[in-house]
């Protein structure tokens, strides 16, 4: 029996004992079913973009979620492996958390030691597993952008690229905002709530390519802000913080779709890549910049946050950076200007395209 079958069997045992709950969600047009043994982790799907509620037939991907708090697997081989791997993980995993003994063609498995999470994706059966050793709470970042590793692996096989970027726009065109933490991605995306531009994401999205057109698809309906200064800039949003009792230095997180469902746009063709830079000046402006700068802002952080990333991701990000115009977004302190400047850029791009 292979590792995926053993995990599947373990999940069935847990679901039999604790009850089975499931939720079906469309992500980037793909029907995905999340199955939970018991109800401890059911809220994890709250962070995902919720479109049409259900779909008939077989899902494109089935994700099984459970923990080992109440029961260990009946299968002695799996039980021994999980015991040894979670206790002496440094002997069992590679530098990026990959499970060295079970990785195989079409099967990817990763372990995250801190929260004791095992992610695995079986591309042959379109099945994924998310197992947590204990029932201890997940770190905030895992609650706000859950299932990252497994969604990255599976969507890559469907030719969608997981990207570390924010995105805003309209159904007929939008912009990708990229850069490392603190560059202004989230602030820019949040400035578009209740504006003429829609909100797609603040941290991660999926990008697909068809006939040379790159499109961004929403994945997580959440947002994060760094500190008190950011919160003060967005007083309406600040009232809706999900983790008011966070540790010092932890980001404030928001489940935006609960509060701003009308502001969400689920996908759009991409018209450009923006690199936000906080200037301290009042006004916001955009100036063209090189593809290499866009790539340097986009690729290293994307690759670093996705342990399964490699040459395929690198190539996609290279092509994306070359295909789209790139701009430095010089962020001003007058937040109301930001969506207007982005809107003007989208209109200018559309007019330029229509002249061709």
């Amino acid at each position: 029996m292979d590792f995926a079958s053993l995990l599947n069997e373990y999940f069935d045992e847990a679901a039999e004992e604790q009850g089975l709950a499931s939720e079906r969600i469309h992500l980037a047009g793909h029907p995905i079913e999340f199955c939970f043994a018991g109800d401890r982790w059911k809220d994890l799907t709250r962070a995902l973009v919720h479109g049409p509620a259900s779909f008939p037939g077989k899902p494109g991907l089935r994700v099984m979620v459970w923990d080992g708090e109440e029961r260990t697997p009946r299968n002695h081989v799996l039980k021994a492996y999980l015991f040894a791997m979670t206790n002496w993980w440094f002997d069992y995993v590679g530098p990026r958390g990959q499970l060295l003994d079970v990785q195989a063609h079409g099967f990817e498995a990763y372990y995250v030691p801190g929260p004791d999470l095992l992610y695995a994706v079986d591309l042959k059966s379109n099945t994924a597993f998310c197992w947590k050793r204990h029932s201890s709470p997940l770190p905030d970042w895992e609650v706000v952008s859950p299932f990252r590793s497994l969604l990255h692996c599976w969507f890559r096989a469907q030719e969608f690229q997981f990207v570390h970027a924010a995105a805003v726009g309209r159904p007929n065109g939008g912009l990708l905002l990229t850069g490392k933490g603190g560059s202004g991605k989230s602030s820019t995306a949040l400035s578009c709530l209740n504006s003429s531009l829609g909100y797609l994401c603040d941290d991660f999205c999926l990008i697909g390519q068809q006939n040379g057109t790159y499109s961004a698809f929403g994945l997580y309906a959440t947002a994060k802000l760094v500190g008190a200064e950011d919160l003060a800039r967005f007083p309406c949003i600040a009232q809706k913080v999900w983790n008011p009792d966070r540790e010092p230095g932890q980001k404030a997180a928001f489940f935006l779709q609960d509060h701003y469902p009308e502001s969400f746009v689920d996908h759009f063709p991409l018209k450009g890549i923006l690199l936000p830079v906080v200037t301290g000046q009042r006004d916001t402006s955009v100036v063209p910049c090189s593809s290499s700068r866009a790539f340097s802002a986009l690729a290293p952080s994307t690759l670093s946050l996705l342990p399964a990333s490699g040459a395929t991701d690198f190539r996609f990000l290279t092509e994306l950076s070359r295909a789209l115009p790139a701009y430095e977004l010089r962020l001003g302190t007058d937040i109301a200007q930001i969506p207007l400047v982005l809107n003007d850029l989208l209109i200018a791009g559309r007019e330029a395209a229509s002249l061709k």
């Binding site: 206790n87 603190g182 760094v226 230095g249 290499s292 340097s296 670093s304 946050l305």
Partner: protein
Amino acid sequence: MGDQCFRVNTPEVLYENFDDELVAIHLETGTYHSLFGAAADAFVLLAEEATVPELAEALSRKYAAGAEQIAAALGDFIAQLQQEHLIAVVETRKARGPLQVPGTETGLPFVPPSVAAYHELQGLFLLDPIHEVGEQGWPQMRQADENDKPEGV
């Protein structure tokens, strides 16, 4: 160093040569790098496997400097690339044609090559990505604590 042949450390190192800059990422160290001008050209040539004299000879066809002057400047550059694990020594050389420098320009001003290395994402690239967010707004490595001690499943 003169006789040693070097190659780009693939598959761990991925790179892309844009018009104005070459960006390289080392997937196992989590470091990314930026190279310009003669440095970018030399890196592209190293993908073909090359010694310092071969690199210098090829670069002298594009840049306004003699092969000896370029070779002297390449020493530090090669050492830097080795230190960043971007290149490795070739044990057995493969057959290849003459090195071709990218582009058709000649007589460009020669600036001694160097590589800018960015290490700030290393903690995320490598296990463990247990990051909490610091004041600078970027995930930080968590310190090992009591919870990391082994215990039963």
